[in-house]
Symmetry: C2
Subunit: 152 residues, 2 copies
């Protein structure tokens, strides 16, 4: 039913960054605080997202993380393929190695449509869209009583 903590943190952080003014680096520390997430762990995750081209990072004063040019249009699927692994869409509910309509487990008939819906959904949701949703104030990114709405 769930994504790994790593994926959850990655998505939360990316959406948060997407809510901020583009081009202005966001501090790892600030993201961690806002999301109420361990900062050192989050840093590792963000570094990984950098390495795979979703983020740009800047060191030193005025440093931080920015969405790389054009990456506002990234989908959740692009993120999950990084954080959950490239066979995220393959491996499936009963854990069978081979999954096809021919070598199907007994859940297949019921599960496959749902799975396809999940995949379509992840392919459809962009960071930009999700950030907009957050900026309406109707949705929250973290558990804490919204300490501060995203400043800009």
């Amino acid at each position: 039913m769930v994504l790994s903590r790593t994926s959850q943190y990655a998505i939360q952080a990316l959406i948060y960054i997407a809510t901020q003014a583009p081009g202005v680096p966001v501090l790892n520390r600030d993201i961690a605080e806002r999301l109420n997430v361990p900062a050192a762990y989050l840093a590792k995750i963000l570094q990984n997202l950098c390495k795979h081209g979703l983020l740009d990072s800047f060191r030193g004063r005025l440093g931080g993380f920015c969405l790389r040019e054009g990456m506002h249009k990234s989908t959740l699927m692009q993120v999950l393929l990084l954080t959950e692994g490239p066979d995220f869409t393959q491996n499936c509910i009963l854990g069978l190695k081979r999954c096809s309509d021919e070598t199907a487990c007994p859940l297949h008939l019921r599960w496959k449509p749902v799975k396809n819906k999940i995949i379509a959904m992840m392919n459809d949701m962009t960071l930009e869209d999700l950030a907009k949703a957050v900026l309406t104030g109707k949705y929250r990114l973290a558990d804490l009583p919204v300490a501060a709405m995203p400043a800009r």
Copy 2:
């Protein structure tokens, strides 16, 4: 996207048992072999299912595990509430502690219908149904080239 290994093994084992003649105990060893799953680990899982009333167990000669009377009608949801924990249906995609329409994360609008579909599906599928599907020969429970179809 996934269930825990424990849940996968539990579901596989229960369906397998449901395909066997009722009242005749099935050996842990046989289930493990058929599913290609670690026997000692599976034993723990089956013991747990016993403790929670889904299975009956018998020791000694002619021992093994049987579905408890009436439990052919058990749903996957009943199993998952045991193996994934009682808040299986609560905790959700971004990991927020509180989840409601009022305190919703930005995925909520898209995710909730899918989540409800999953829950409905799990509530709807019974061991009996799944066992029948397996017995048609069209579906498989494990990866191995079906060594032997369920004997009875």
